[in-house]
Symmetry: D2
Subunit: 262 residues, 4 copies
Amino acid sequence: MDSRIASRMGASTPSTITVRGHDLCTELIGRIDLGAMAWLELTGRLPTEAQSRLVNAVLVTLVEHGMTPMAMVARLTYLGAPESLQAAVAAGLCGMGTTFAGTTEGAARLLADAVRGAPADAQPADIAARLVPQLLEARKPIPGIGHPVHKPIDPRTPALFQVARETGYHGRYIALMEAIAAEAERRTGKSLPVNATGAIGAIACELGLDWRICRGLSVIARAVGLVGHLNEETQQPIARALWEHAEATVAANLAAGDGADA
Amino acid sequence: MDSRIASRMGASTPSTITVRGHDLCTELIGRIDLGAMAWLELTGRLPTEAQSRLVNAVLVTLVEHGMTPMAMVARLTYLGAPESLQAAVAAGLCGMGTTFAGTTEGAARLLADAVRGAPADAQPADIAARLVPQLLEARKPIPGIGHPVHKPIDPRTPALFQVARETGYHGRYIALMEAIAAEAERRTGKSLPVNATGAIGAIACELGLDWRICRGLSVIARAVGLVGHLNEETQQPIARALWEHAEATVAANLAAGDGADA
Amino acid sequence: MDSRIASRMGASTPSTITVRGHDLCTELIGRIDLGAMAWLELTGRLPTEAQSRLVNAVLVTLVEHGMTPMAMVARLTYLGAPESLQAAVAAGLCGMGTTFAGTTEGAARLLADAVRGAPADAQPADIAARLVPQLLEARKPIPGIGHPVHKPIDPRTPALFQVARETGYHGRYIALMEAIAAEAERRTGKSLPVNATGAIGAIACELGLDWRICRGLSVIARAVGLVGHLNEETQQPIARALWEHAEATVAANLAAGDGADA
Amino acid sequence: MDSRIASRMGASTPSTITVRGHDLCTELIGRIDLGAMAWLELTGRLPTEAQSRLVNAVLVTLVEHGMTPMAMVARLTYLGAPESLQAAVAAGLCGMGTTFAGTTEGAARLLADAVRGAPADAQPADIAARLVPQLLEARKPIPGIGHPVHKPIDPRTPALFQVARETGYHGRYIALMEAIAAEAERRTGKSLPVNATGAIGAIACELGLDWRICRGLSVIARAVGLVGHLNEETQQPIARALWEHAEATVAANLAAGDGADA
């Protein structure tokens, strides 16, 4: 028996199913919601009411953002393989990489590292004043601030921070995220408010979640959204029209001599 | 402008995000849970309290079932590509096909077709008496009944049907599912109680969901469970031990001359 | 030791790698091409020159077909996760389901079943005369015949059958596929020539491959094509323009009141 | 017409299919092998005989390596969704990330950057003498050298370099890769010969391929190998036994109190 192959996620007997130590049928079904179940999966404990409200708020935020590349991918895949709805969702999720979801992870990691590396009594503004110049010098975008569309502020941020405040989780990570945004704005002269991924990265830290699993929150939420898009696709399909547009545009550009350089 | 490329899932302006007609930041974040959000995505309407409780119960049921092939796949994929947590979840979801999840869909379709094809005042037992012989004759398993492990009953079924009763959704689809199980048991002499996928297929019909999207409920729920497994994998990895066991066993069998027939 | 966990695909020692009984470094690298390697993987034997030429012809046929939904999916996924080229290919392959690739499998299965069920001396035309009416009655498309674009014939079919003839593999399965097309045309009055998937299904049967693995030929070939598209995407990206078009069209339709019915 | 949505990969008319400017039916089918087709897809040109032999050698090298995590993933996914062979291959490919395939890319990038940054007449040994100390100081593994199993040398490397020599592609990138290995061995006192991914990274540079697409070579090759494993899985399935072993081991460890820490 290989002692390394161990897990405490779940177990079954003929008459019971246990999830993280809780009886599925008598303690969970009908008693907790899906966000609370996610919390149980991730932490091994049932959430308090405050934790449940906050983690549900975070997950709800990330479900739907209109006709994204991921939604297009799910729909185009469903066109080719309607027998495999699960593979269409999977294909969509494959695109949840560094371009779109990475910044939640990046923001949480940045905050966790900065707080761990600072004295216990350090002020957020002081940490930010030391951190931001280094980040700007690296000439990479600072995760969690600024947004190409949502200006001057990302409306999700105050909504999320309000729930954090109401549930008692508006702590030093959120304060540091806000201080980083303020310091970056001061130094660059640009509008760089905390965006939704920055807000969620900060809240994940407040909740004690590891930055390594932050992308998992996005994945859970977006799986819901992609199933929503596929449900609409069964009722009003658009994938074939997307394909025809792409194929016709490529053909027209090729005819006009503007194809990609071979 | 191609009028076929249309969607009502979501829309954005610089200061607002709308999901199915509801303002994300003022109406949804902090106000509804993830199961209710899934309902909004699938139906375009916010759920009643009863609908929310029932759809959450269904989703909670499907999140976690221990060390399944899908959980193994997610963990083994994460071993190879730890930078792509989303692809590890996606790989796991790809296995949610006919073997494991298809029966929810099959049960919902069976019930929806049977009820649509029967007179409005037909009794469940009478529909079942006509239907089951046809199903048995086709020599394929009847979706939604029997379970290899959970005997004599699947404990999830009474838990789910109890929530359906409490929320006012214990109607004719559930009655028909139970009648089919009873008729199949009577005719085959085997123990064939309604299993969890049968219960969920019936509840999906009660809730007015299309059988085409039933697999989506499993996908949403299992995405939560796979993120849970990957979180545990970051803390106590087992993928390498699974690999080493497989490789060593193949090598030992090959040495013993018991390899697969080339 | 579990004797069921056995495989003869490959094995390693510190100084050797063996693939299906052949030493990779001394017998395969630099000596055979990728199509021959695929044959070795699938059959456990190195191909004859004829088999190698024919299986390469089949694979070459399926690599590239322009801006398909699968190519769009790979490119859109790469936009979101450029660090995971493998996941972009994987997402693209997920769409190779019943709509596009299923007919190769279907054609091979149809031919294999029909030949197995017929007397050894049955003439293709006679088998087709008995088979086609049953297929038409089922009111499902007959796999392997007809094409929405390539008319009056699919140009790939004569090219493939010519290679089959030159390599000595133009046998009874190809004859039956042609007889089925002729009989279907006679009975329906429509132009229904053997298409590329029908040609490939027939050739797979001639080569002794199982219909269950036919889709695998498409998957191998299209993986090549998707890597080609992603290479072009790194040089001339189109994914963002595809996204912007979709998002803008959805927004315009929504503004015009022509969104999908919520 | 959006001029950005352009591609030169392929085009169709009712009577022709063109791939990268070549008529599929008259110039490619039956005339070139799958490796040559991959070259055409990646470069837009048919390969010379030398290029074809070398690119096929590289691809053949990467097809099969026994019971890897990727092969296990493909088989476990097929168990759950046997109707979606393509999704099983896709799931397997998702694991071809930084742990296993990243080093080809890394080696190619390292060599390309080093050669571009060095004077035209710089000697490989001199470049290596300047480069290796920096790489060692970064305390990350140097891509392309050393192997946990294949010792003292990776047998694929001399086989590949021999084909490179015979085809006239044993140039400065290969020389630099060898010089890096020698310098690293000299400085660390460890055995760090060029491994297969280092050899392939160097050959990719010799062939003029971009490091960004190197992972694509692995993906193409491994798609072949995964289809091979799935073909064997249809004949001698092992996925269920892998699952049963994992589930039973987890249960036994849980009973013994050695589960993962919840």
